[in-house]
Amino acid sequence: MSFPLLTATAALPAIGAIVTAAVPAAQRTVAKWVALFFSLGTLVLAGVVFARFEPGGDRYQLTESRAWIADFGVRYELGVDGIGVALIGLTALLIPFVIAAGWHDADPLETKSSRWRPTQGFFALILMVEAMVVLSFLATDVFLFYILFEAMLIPMYFLIGGFGDRAHAGSDENAAKQRSYAAVKFLLYNLAGGLIMLAAVIGLYVVAGTFSLSEIVEARANGTLEMATSTERWLFLGFFFAFAIKAPLWPLHTWLPNAMGEATAPVAVLITAIVDKVGTFAMLRFCLGLFPEASKWATPVVIALALVSIVYGALLAVGQRDIKRLIAYASISHFGFIILGIFAMTSQGQSGATLYMVNHGISTAALLLVAGFLITRRGSRLIADYGGVQKVAPVLAGTFLIGGLATLSLPGLAPFVSEFLVLVGTFSAYPVAGIIATSGIVLAAIYVLVLYQRTMTGPVNEAVRTMPDLKARELVVAVPLIALLLFLGVFPKPLTEVVNPAVEHTMSDVQKKDPQPEVEAAK
């Protein structure tokens, strides 16, 4: 039994969470540094995983398998494929930035009760989320995945409901009410999805008699496991429903704007850049892997919904008055692209979707965190409260602009690569869908540029006249992310290398071939 690298990668942040929580109330700064330290440690371990992973090798690597709950046919089974590696990398990479960005978000306003330790709690919860997310990317046992899928809601719930923007437009208890509404909505929405999925999970066990992903996929492949068409479809729907809520796919998206609007920027990043990716990841790994036929059966509807998400989300983003809600709707649009790429079922589409998950994570993080810096300065989320920031805080404006350009997937920045792959992949399988989706790039330009114009340009708004430019800590957050966006935009090879083989596996799961180009087909 070699060193359980994957377990370690997931366990480290969990330990970090406990340690952070244990830091005495007075030593807030210590807690922050501890959290940061552990998150960086996790990043290192993730790096090791990335290095140890051989793109050409087995489908699941560094596997671990231990007995867990025999009665439920559950084993503690871990393993990474290319997609998992990419997403673990993303998670481990973003968390340190999230922590650094949220450095002061959880400082208690007044230190009245010595036992109430929000700071420790905040960072402990973030690390706990990281641990669960990482493990869910690693789980190759459906039950294990399900448990984490559900369990990660709880820390997220406390992060959303417990820690809001410092200065919020409107009275304080009103803000608190808004916040807990958003938190409850988030939890119930996702819990409902999870419970529907639970029924499907149980159903799957009844049908398959095991929870081991690889076993089931193999059994499906070599026909030892027959699934009645209707059964497969029901189970697929059970799974997909949960993932579609998490992703979020129209019309199950309404929890996201509330949650992202009310949560602090770092937590919003946690939601949209990391936790929601579990949904799309699971579509790719579980929906397509376990129920290929049903997936193909559902494709038209799913693609339609994805297209609606793309256009609808973008249009609503244009209509928003609140910076964070705008970004939230933009994310809905982007998740539409991801799902589109997954269900187009072409290698370009799926590679694109996987890259999209990573790139969207980074770009949204960049945009949202900078937006967070802006909001904490002015103490308002309303676009109308800004104007001419570019004149007083050029660096802030610049980073914000780059984040925005990444969001509208300007060529040369990472998101362009993935978005174009998704579009091409979709177009080659479903031309009309591809064209409709392409309209998304115009809409994206509208909401990004309008946002930038209203906040950053024009005459300087009195309220922002004294606004300071980015501080060192904030630069440390913003600059690396931007650098990464540029690098991956020009040289995405390191990612595509690990992703491609995984995608080929998925393609073979669903027994799909890429459509041949007309000319070659002719030859």
Binding site: F72, G161, E173, S180, A199, G203
Partner: protein, 554 residues
């Protein structure tokens, strides 16, 4: 053998055959060893009564406590010994001339009941929560239950430092009944056991120290409705007896599945008359469903849970459910398996409306104890889903669920006893606002229990729910599972509401204080948390246990 054995136990052996002279008398054989748990408890209870009579008042509390805990521990040891001796599996047998079945379910449930009793007895004995009255430590029970609330005599009793130490023997009697209830192997024993554990509970409900009017009201309601339901049960017993001509489960079962060939033509009207069987079975079912608190026999639950002294509520909520479901299981699996197909639709309906009803009504509750009462109703529904899965997996899943659930319940109610204001326990939800700010630890613990109730993964609640739903699904009750998950989603809402209240809302100025309990209550809560997490993270061992215990002896 047991068919004849039954009445040979109650009558002299020759009762039926011919008027025989007394010298034919043969003493019934009693397997004392296998009955040890029950006997220990009963004995201790009797001792407790004597202690009430003879031990000086000052020493009573400690004597009783010691006696009770020791007795329960000893009984538990006996259960463990029996299980280790293989009585749960290979040597499972009918004891006491067919009156008692010693088998897996019996031992598992008895063990559970005993453990739960121990921890809840700790909360009974808690004396640090209330400020001392006239220099006397006081617990949650009236100084003198007989005195009129607010009367001079009551004040006098308080001044004199009286305490109702009778609760301990009462608990013991009740426990004794509960131990027998799931083990009962004939209808008479079933009825007696039911009464034996119910009557003390009626009394226990009445002896709260604060809010005595509510306490008495709870007692009256519980008593009247309980008696009412036991009348139904008894009539059902009568009809079944009329149907089978015997009280023994085994005989009845034989008659039900028609393996008894010779039927006296004279009895053609009754013997094997399915009307009798169906009505009787239905009425017994009614009686048991009342005890488990299934809709529509649940109406007593909220009021009684709210009115009874919180320690009693915890004990009742946990132990009664265990015992009652044990009896229900045995009835359905041993006596009426031939009837399963007739009862199934009814049970389905009951399970569904219980799950949904409990969850839905709980949403608008404003009192934490009532809220937990409704949640217990919803949980009864979930367990019923497992009961309906007529399969060994079904049995073991129910056993596991009961074990998991009972500890969470006791722990939750123990936490409720801690949150107090001037008027005693502050059970109104509005008072719990901002508890998380005041005392994060207590709030966190309670949150853990709530999440377990909600069936969030990594808690025992989830393992249990999963086991039950899985069993149900495997036995083709997929629809039940779907309803189950829907109602869990609804239920999640109000558990979450409490958490929101505790953590995300500002504490009120006149909010309650959280009393620091003695090690007794601390143990209760600690055990509750520990079991919740262990069964959530690594339930395998206990699942195995329940798995082995999944077979009934006939």
């Amino acid at each position: 053998m047991s068919a004849t054995a039954v009445h040979s136990l109650w009558t002299t052996a020759s009762g039926v055959t011919s008027a025989a002279p007394g010298d034919r008398f043969t003493a019934p054989t009693i397997e004392y060893a296998q009955l040890a748990p029950v006997l220990i408890i009963v004995g201790a209870a009797v001792l407790g009564v004597l202690a009430e009579a003879f031990v000086p008042r000052k020493a009573r509390y400690h004597t009783q406590l010691l006696l009770t805990v020791v007795a329960l521990a000893a009984a538990f040891a006996a259960v463990v010994a029996l299980a280790a001796g293989g009585y749960g599996t290979t040597k499972a047998q009918i004891a006491a001339m067919g009156a008692i079945a010693i088998d897996g379910p019996t031992l598992f449930l008895q063990g559970t009941i005993l453990l739960v009793s121990v921890v809840s007895v700790f909360t009974f004995a808690e004396r640090r929560l209330d400020p001392t009255a006239h220099g006397n430590r006081v617990d949650s029970f009236a100084a003198q239950a007989g005195t009129v609330p607010g009367s001079e005599s009551e004040k006098a009793a308080v001044r004199a430092g009286f305490t109702t130490t009778e609760v301990f023997p009462l608990v013991l009697f009740s426990v004794a009944g509960m131990l027998v209830f799931p083990a009962a192997n004939d209808l008479l024993t079933l009825f007696i056991a039911l009464e034996v554990f119910s009557l003390p509970l009626y009394l226990l409900c009445a002896v709260a120290r604060r809010k005595r009017l509510m306490s008495q009201e709870a007692a009256v309601k519980y008593f009247l409705l309980g008696a009412f339901s036991s009348a139904f049960l008894l009539f059902g017993i009568a009809l079944l007896y009329g149907y089978a001509g015997s009280l023994s489960y085994a005989t009845i079962a034989n008659v039900v599945d028609g393996s008894v060939l010779e039927i006296d033509p004279a009895l053609a009207g009754t013997m094997g008359n399915d009307a009798l069987l169906l009505i009787g079975g239905a009425m017994i079912l009614t009686g048991l469903l009342f005890k488990v608190g299934a809709v529509p026999f649940h109406m007593w639950t909220p009021d009684v849970y709210q009115g009874a002294p919180t320690p009693v509520t915890g004990f009742m909520a946990a132990a009664t459910k265990v015992a009652a479901f044990g009896a229900l299981l045995r009835l359905l699996y041993v006596v009426l398996p031939g009837l399963t197909w007739d009862l199934r639709p009814v049970l389905w309906a009951v399970a569904i409306i219980t799950m949904l009803g409990g969850a839905v009504v709980a949403i608008t509750q404003t009192d934490i104890k009532r809220l937990l009462a409704y949640s217990s109703i919803a949980h009864a529904g979930f367990i019923l889903a497992g009961v309906i899965a007529t399969s060994p997996e079904g049995v073991s899943s129910v056993l596991f669920y009961l074990g998991a659930y009972s500890f969470v319940t006791v722990g939750a109610f123990a936490v409720v006893t801690l949150v107090r204001d001037a008027g005693g326990e502050a059970t109104h939800l509005s008072k719990w606002a901002g508890l998380g700010r005041r005392s994060p630890l207590v709030a966190a613990v309670f949150a853990v229990f709530l999440l377990a109730f909600a069936g969030i993964p990594l808690t025992s609640g989830f393992s249990g729910k999963f086991a039950v739903f899985k069993a149900a699904a495997e036995s083709g009750a997929g629809a039940l599972v779907v309803v189950g998950v829907i109602s869990s989603a609804i239920a999640a809402f109000f558990y979450i509401r409490v958490i929101v209240l505790m953590f995300f809302s500002e504490p009120k100025a006149d909010g309650p204080t959280v009393a620091v309990p003695s090690p007794l209550t601390m143990t209760t809560i600690a055990v509750g948390v520990a079991v919740t997490l262990v069964l959530g993270l690594a339930p395998q061992y206990f699942l195995d246990l329940a798995g082995q215990a999944g077979v009934f002896v006939r």
